[in-house]
Subunit: 516 residues, 2 copies
């Protein structure tokens, strides 16, 4: 068999059976080989940023990587921003980047680019397959490395793909994340035993499972530590029956207030927090100067196991019983659409087992509070700050979880980065409801323009942050790509339309018009 066939069979054998693809000429044998391996599901996207963002969302929900198929350096370039987000969230992705045939490489053909530099900037592992005899082993290693290092990128020359002489490789060994040592646990237990103001700062694997959250809650109840989650967790389980877990706020002043007085910050699955951006005269991190940071588990370690052991060591001594959230939903609001009434509609209607993809940024006022007592759900955030991951992640989450409803909470400005994702939702008939927050601006930037101390928002500067001229008609955009869509201007309309969209299978978009 040829290299492409062996590659795809190896991926499938290693459990990688979805490929988000934007193929070009150099990937044609890979495309052709899809016919030979029906276990591999090829999902076409109209832009590489959709493919990589879908792989990000897929990995977060499936707990294993999808492959992407990208076309040389420029195709990889188009996918970089969402690979950045995946990297920041420690999602596993296996990129297959087609390249020129080996003999063509030195000719500097028009598409020639420095794939290795681009791949290296976002990948934990990069390999160029040099012969059909190697490609299967390379693919198996890519899958193995993606479990440890997140993004694994395999560069596949066209002739390595088309030449015969390849054989599939067996699946790579399963990778078990390391468990923190007993010494570390004992140190943290001692810190928690002091009774000083302590925050157990959670993220990564710890907030992605009931078990992690409940163990953390037990530790907090037993020791008096406060629980707090990183601002943008890759995946967070939420809802009634779990401990209340506030997230560290995004604005620097609010973040500093949230951690004020804290003497010990114990990290479990999260890194020590820093502000998203530096500002004149503001320290770079919200951690108080006299606060000591302790690592219970670093990202990539088994934080859930660490918390379970810590709970056994620390909690019984103090003996508190953790409080869990009661089922609670807000009343359906009426009247004007504001960020808060939209949040209340979401809280009132959020379906059980929903996967929420959150790229609303500034407009999510009250959203966490109004959904905290909803039925159990997962919440995916924008981990790396590169906007345009929301709609693609919704694609990937829906492919990973075909039996669960996906609700994409999506701001307008960031929606336009990868709006092409709607087409893939329609093509694959994914059960995604997009709630599009239309505030007609890059609202977060209007806020930032004033907060950085920049001169009074002049007219020309302000115009550069305004999306309203012309207004974006998301109903037209969605229907133009085959996704049924409606527009809501009151809370009642929104509730009706959202309920209908959530109840019907397949993709839908509801444009919530927020003005004034």
């Amino acid at each position: 068999m040829n290299g492409a066939q062996a590659l795809i069979r190896t991926l499938v054998g290693a459990g990688v059976d979805v490929c988000f693809a934007n193929p070009g000429t150099s990937e044609m044998h890979f495309v052709a080989a899809l016919d030979d391996v029906p276990e591999m599901r090829g999902v076409l996207t109209l832009f590489e940023g959709v493919a990589t963002g879908a792989a990000d969302g897929y990995a977060r929900m499936a707990g294993k990587p999808a492959a992407t198929l990208l076309h040389l350096g420029p195709g990889l370039g188009n996918g970089l921003a969402n690979l950045h987000n995946a990297r920041r969230g420690r999602a596993s992705v296996v990129n297959v980047v087609g390249d020129h045939a080996r003999s063509h490489k030195r000719l500097d053909a028009p598409l020639e680019a420095d794939i290795d530099a681009l791949a290296g900037a976002v990948s934990g592992w990069v390999r160029r397959s040099l012969s059909p005899a190697d490609v299967a082993a390379d693919a198996a290693e890519a899958v193995a490395e993606s479990a440890r290092r997140g993004i694994a990128t395999l560069v596949l020359p066209a002739d390595v793909s088309w030449e015969d002489g390849a054989e599939p490789a067996g699946p790579p060994p399963y990778w078990y994340p390391p468990v923190p040592t007993e010494y570390r646990l004992a140190d943290v237990a001692a810190v928690l035993g002091r009774g000083e103001p302590t925050v157990l700062f959670l993220g990564g694997d710890v907030v992605a499972s009931d078990e992690g959250l409940l163990a953390a809650g037990q530790v907090a109840a037993g020791t008096g530590a406060r629980l707090m989650a990183e601002t943008f967790p890759a995946r967070m389980v939420r809802g009634a029956g779990l401990p209340d877990l506030p997230k560290l706020p995004y604005p620097p002043e609010m973040a500093m207030a949230a951690l004020a007085g804290t003497r010990h910050l114990v990290l479990a699955g999260a890194t020590s927090p820093v502000h998203f951006f530096g500002y004149p005269g503001v320290p770079g991190t919200p951690v108080p100067a006299d606060c000591t940071v302790h690592v219970l588990s670093a990202p990539g370690e088994d934080g859930v196991a660490a918390l379970r052991e810590l709970a056994a060591m620390a909690a019984p001594a103090a003996g508190g019983q953790q409080a869990l959230l009661e089922p609670a939903r807000p009343e359906l609001p009426s009247g004007e659409l504001t960020p808060r009434t939209v949040s209340a509609v979401v809280g009132a209607l959020l379906p059980e087992r929903a996967v929420v993809v959150d790229e609303v940024l500034t407009s999510g006022v009250g959203l966490a509070e109004l959904t905290s007592g909803a039925p159990r759900h997962d919440w995916l955030s924008l981990t790396g700050g590169a906007i345009g991951d929301g709609l693609p992640m919704a694609v990937g989450a829906a492919v990973a979880c075909p039996d669960r409803p996906v609700l994409a909470l999506q701001a307008d400005g960031s929606a336009m980065y990868t709006i092409q994702a709607l087409w893939t939702m329609a093509r694959e008939q994914l059960d995604v409801t997009v709630l599009l927050y239309d505030n007609g601006s890059y609202a977060i930037l209007q806020h930032e323009l004033s907060r950085v101390g920049a001169a009074e928002d002049g007219k020309r500067a302000g115009e550069l942050l305004h999306l309203g001229t012309p207004a974006l008609d998301f109903v037209a955009l969605a229907t133009g790509m085959g996704v049924p869509a409606t527009r809501a201007t009151t809370a009642e309309e929104l509730a009706d339309q959202l309920r209908t969209a959530l109840a019907a299978p397949g993709p839908h978009l509801v444009q919530a018009v927020l003005r004034g």
Copy 2:
């Protein structure tokens, strides 16, 4: 004044007075400074690929760079593909990439990425401004280097932007491209004098002006050499009154046939041709094995001056008179819409002084022939093979040439890469007519799937190249972004709609439905 103000004033002083922008928080002082320098025109785009592609189109038509404003590594990543195209076409671009404040850099905040690696992969020059006192000189050098090296990227830390103590720098010295030496001219003149089968292979600056083409035509007429242009020139002047200049065909077999029997290939402004991709059993280049390649002028040299001198040396000896194209337009066709009838409609209606942006790829059957006798126009091609440059280049060309009509010939698959460009056309009310070729597929890839010798187009493989499920409604997409649009299914409808769109100011889109 602060760094941002000094930077913008320096750019304006150096003639860079357009900035295609996708700002984020780290660029807020740059945005604020726009109010202070009204000579700088900020053009907002909804995606960085639109900003960089617009800068590409702008540079090709204005003959000077625009600035782009990009948001850290991910923003640069989103713009890489069209910077690749700009680099391949030797267009000058000055990127300003905002970065974290210097004090924030070491904190590994979520948006932290290896900007230098990404910038280095596409730029001829990269600099990180280290203080407000340096930023103006850095900006002046960026403009100077962009003239020589194409893409110049200036990384601008947020605090370098917001701190005071900066002063504008004066404009950089004008850069004159080098002229080939007399020895080289004499060598080439001797080759041309032998009377052996010779092709004068033109590209770059040589095909971008009447003067270059007419000088080349004079050399050809005087020596019996054939004229041929590179396959994808960045900018080519065309139309009645100029010599007929066939382009080297894209398909390898046709390219090899076009150069068969050639003993000497004389390069003027072009590099020696290679096939776009390698294929099993096909040589990498269409240049015959027994053909000698001679460089009259390399890209970046003054090829027009070289040809003018060569014409004076070589042409009078043989004394032929060059044939120039007579004004000629095809009849308006009727009936079914096929690639050829669409080409005839374009040839019949192409306005005088139009700027044609060509990203139709496979669908441009007969297009070159049917427009060759049209009134004088410019033709911009996809130089680097990274699809998604067409609509953005149309934005940039229209900003550069507000008094000229821009006609974007745009394939459907590549249109979807940067469809957000339509919104900027509407926002700026640019005089762009988009003729959207809707064939419902990545037709070029369906062709490639069979031609690479891949297995018979299986059903699953073929589906991955099909854009028809669901069908893309470009009329809805365009109107959703504020661009009036119509749909044509016959040649008569297309002619009517195209005529109307070309006659009216502002942007329009005509979706030409090609089926079967």
